[in-house]
């Protein structure tokens, strides 16, 4: 068992030489101020990003109401364009990335590695406080018509529509990008340098491996997007012509710079969630994780190969055949380490004593949804098929299965799993089950019909469509309402449980990772005495001899 114990040979900890005052617990208003405690910052990230999730969700509902009928009757088409642009932007840059990396990463990494805080606490706080202004910039851009060129903001469209709003959009992305880079370097240094000495690499929780891979990816890809966006900003505002073909520029350069970041960005959104899965599944299946090393190294493999697949977003951009071939192959290769993880989780579930807690329900739901999204991703990786469905609803279906069915399901699972640790209160399981059922059915009703719509040629990003698509679109809209309604039990559950849910013990799930060795919620600076790791993080249901055998 991993437990907080005082190493007997280390007398300095008992000698009182380190007269470290125990800090008073934070008050509610501390969460609204500049605070350098990683746990406060984690919760700040989570709550802020959840607010943006609700805003982005309202935009999605407005779009689905527009698409309930073929005619553009609910919102003005240019407002529709602004909604689709900002829905995508907010969900990616202000919900999934900050919630998964900023929120859970910040909250859990120091706790999981036995550190008292991140390597650079001030930098951490600065990184968080870059996010709210970015969100305000995006929302404020609606007063100037809103950016309307899609979250990809390809020129020439982005250079000729709503220049002020588009510039604000660029400003917002550069802010969250900077936040992401600062966060990434903080995670890398923290995980590499600040593990408690008894935590060896082969006992590092898989979530930490995932965040390490994510951070490496964010560190090298985000600045390239920043470069592309700076060029775009100069084109819009300062008379340059980087992306103006008639004056010697080249629009394809933008697409390369954009996708060099934005394909890795999908891994930024899913790798931390893979880490979450590797934590939740063994705890609630009461079994050791299957293939610890395979899962850890596959995160690094995804990180590396993921940097060389970006052109599969550009198969229709006049890409030469050799490039199509190269990037088709690399895209199919990057699916392999993902498959390794999926099979490892299924093998972990196999024969386990599964507890269907809300966290586990969402984790298992994620498996089903993500496999579907992953399979449609493989079809899209193949250039000939991709050309057929490019810019249709098939694409929308695909990335909502991976981003909603994957990332958002994972975030819900993580919230249910770590809520007791963060708040010291248990969530209500019944409401959690209602939430899961509504989310699962709603997501499939919304996104499954889109595969068919896309294969039959319904283009994405248009406010009106051919009447032959009406029936399936009505189904999607109905599903979207259900998804919106699924938030009601969740919000009631979260708010009610946070204030008056039953008190949680330090380790309500009987988990073995280090965050469960301290109080719920953890004290400031995490432990009075740092824990000592004596076993691996996933040795559930094993006798000590068995555990020793696994450890080798």
């Amino acid at each position: 068992m991993t437990q907080a114990q005082i190493p007997l040979d280390d007398t300095t900890l008992l000698s009182g030489q380190e007269h470290h005052p125990i800090h008073k617990p934070w008050k509610w208003y501390d969460y609204f101020t500049y605070n350098i405690d990683h746990k406060v910052i984690g919760i700040q990230y989570l709550v802020t990003s959840f607010v943006f999730y609700l805003i982005g969700g309202l935009m999605a509902v407005a779009m689905r109401m527009e698409l309930a009928t073929p005619d553009p009757d609910f919102v003005d088409p240019s407002l529709y364009n602004a909604l689709l642009t900002n829905h995508g932007t907010i969900m990616i840059f202000l919900w999934i990335v900050p919630a998964a990396i900023g929120g859970f990463g910040n909250y859990l990494i120091p706790l999981m590695i036995g550190a008292r805080d991140m390597a650079f606490p001030n930098l951490n706080a600065i990184a968080f406080w870059l996010n709210p202004p970015a969100g305000l910039l995006l929302l404020g851009s609606f007063f100037f018509g809103g950016a309307q060129a899609g979250w990809t903001s390809y020129p020439p469209l982005s250079e000729i529509t709503a220049p002020v709003a588009q510039s604000m959009w660029i400003g917002a992305i550069v802010l969250v990008g900077t936040s992401s880079i600062l966060g990434a370097l903080n995670f890398i240094v923290t995980i590499l340098m600040m593990r408690v000495p008894s935590l060896s690499w082969d006992r590092l929780p898989l979530f930490c491996w995932a965040i390490l891979a994510t951070s490496a990816l964010a560190l090298v890809s985000t600045p390239v997007l920043a470069a592309g966006l700076i060029l775009l900003l100069f084109d819009i505002n300062f008379g340059t012509s980087f992306f103006k073909p008639d004056e010697g520029g080249n629009i394809i350069i933008y697409q390369h710079l954009f996708w060099f970041y934005s394909h890795p960005a999908v891994y930024l959104m899913i790798l931390p969630i893979f880490g979450v899965m590797s934590e939740i599944i063994p705890v609630h299946a009461r079994k050791p994780i299957f293939g610890y090393k395979a899962i850890a190294y596959s995160s690094l493999a995804i990180c590396l190969v993921g940097l060389f697949v970006w052109v599969h977003h550009m198969f229709t951009s006049g890409t030469p055949p050799w490039m199509r071939l190269f990037f088709t192959i690399s895209t199919l290769i990057v699916a392999v380490p993902t498959g390794v993880k999926i099979f490892s989780w299924v093998a972990t579930l196999w024969g386990g004593k599964i507890r269907f807690t809300s966290a586990m329900l969402f984790a298992v739901g994620l498996l089903g949804m993500f496999v579907l999204g992953g399979l449609s991703g493989i079809t899209l990786g193949v250039a000939p098929f991709d050309i057929h469905v490019h810019d249709t609803y098939y694409i929308v279906a695909h990335f909502h299965y991976v981003l909603f069915g994957g990332s958002v399901f994972g975030l819900y699972a993580a919230i249910y799993h770590w809520f007791p640790k963060m708040t010291g209160r248990m969530m209500n399981e019944k409401l959690g089950q209602v939430h899961f059922v509504m989310t699962f059915i709603g997501a499939n009703l919304t996104f499954l019909p889109m595969h068919s719509l896309g294969m039959h040629g319904m283009p994405r990003r248009v406010a009106m469509y051919d009447p032959q698509f009406t029936a399936l679109n009505k189904l999607c809209t109905f599903g979207a309402f259900m998804l919106a309604a699924s938030l009601i039990p969740f919000l009631i559950n979260a708010i009610w449980s946070w204030s008056r849910g039953p008190k949680a013990s330090a380790n309500p799930w009987n988990a073995l990772t280090l965050e469960w060795t301290t109080a719920s919620p953890p004290i400031v600076e995490n432990w009075e005495v740092l824990p000592v790791v004596t076993t691996g993080p996933y040795e559930y249901g094993m006798s000590e001899e068995e555990a020793a055998a696994v450890e080798g």
Binding site: E18, F242, G249
Partner: protein, 209 residues
């Protein structure tokens, strides 16, 4: 580095594992690692600009476009100044490792002066060139890349001046406590390396078209 990170209590305590202590209440000083990680990211941003420039250049029939004269003499002098400043700043680092505050201040002041001369030279070049930011695609790239680099030189200059300012306080830097000095130096080397690539791309590559 190790000296700087060890908590002061370690000197008097008998053979305690300093690692445990560093990981315990005293917060370890990992700033140099943080800076190096950050510079990886920064270089990728410049990498994005370089890639864009090379793609534009590769597609152009004539480079630089007709009527664009790329001046070489002044930038070459500037390059010599900036590259040699990297050696000068290192003398300051060597000095502080010998606990020689005077040496640190002298060499850092010389580096700051060289950096300032570089920036003035750059500004003079901007003022006398026959083209502006929006003249043509080469000018776009030229001003954006040198301007962006100039901004980094300016930040590096501020860091050096910051070191000089702090060095006034007795005992602020010493042979075993000079992380700030090292960080300014590392950043300055980075700015220098980026310039060498930029110089090759913008000034040398344009001589053969």
């Amino acid at each position: 580095m190790t000296d700087a990170t060890a908590p002061t209590g370690a000197a008097i305590a008998p053979q305690v594992t300093t690692e445990v202590q560093a990981n315990d209440h005293a917060h370890p000083d990992l700033r140099v690692w943080g800076l190096l990680t950050f510079l990886v990211s920064e270089s990728l941003m410049f990498g994005g600009f370089f890639a864009a420039y090379l793609m534009v250049r590769g597609a152009a029939s004539q480079w630089p476009p007709e009527g664009t004269e790329v001046e070489l003499l002044l930038p070459a002098i500037n390059t010599v100044i900036l590259v040699s400043s990297s050696f000068v700043i290192h003398l300051g680092d060597v000095a502080i490792k010998k606990n020689d505050i005077g040496g640190l201040r002298k060499w850092y002041a010389v580096t700051a002066l060289m950096g300032a001369v570089f920036l003035v030279g750059q500004a003079y070049e901007y003022a006398t060139l026959g083209y502006g930011l929006s003249s043509n695609i080469f000018a776009n790239c030229f001003y954006l890349m040198t301007g962006f680099h100039g901004l980094h030189v300016f930040i590096g200059l501020l860091l050096i001046l910051g070191v000089l300012w702090r060095s006034r306080r007795a005992g602020h830097y010493s042979d075993h406590k000079h992380t700030g000095v090292e960080m300014a130096e590392i950043y300055w080397h980075f700015v220098d390396i980026i310039w060498i690539v930029l110089f090759a791309l913008l000034y040398i590559l344009t001589q053969f078209s």
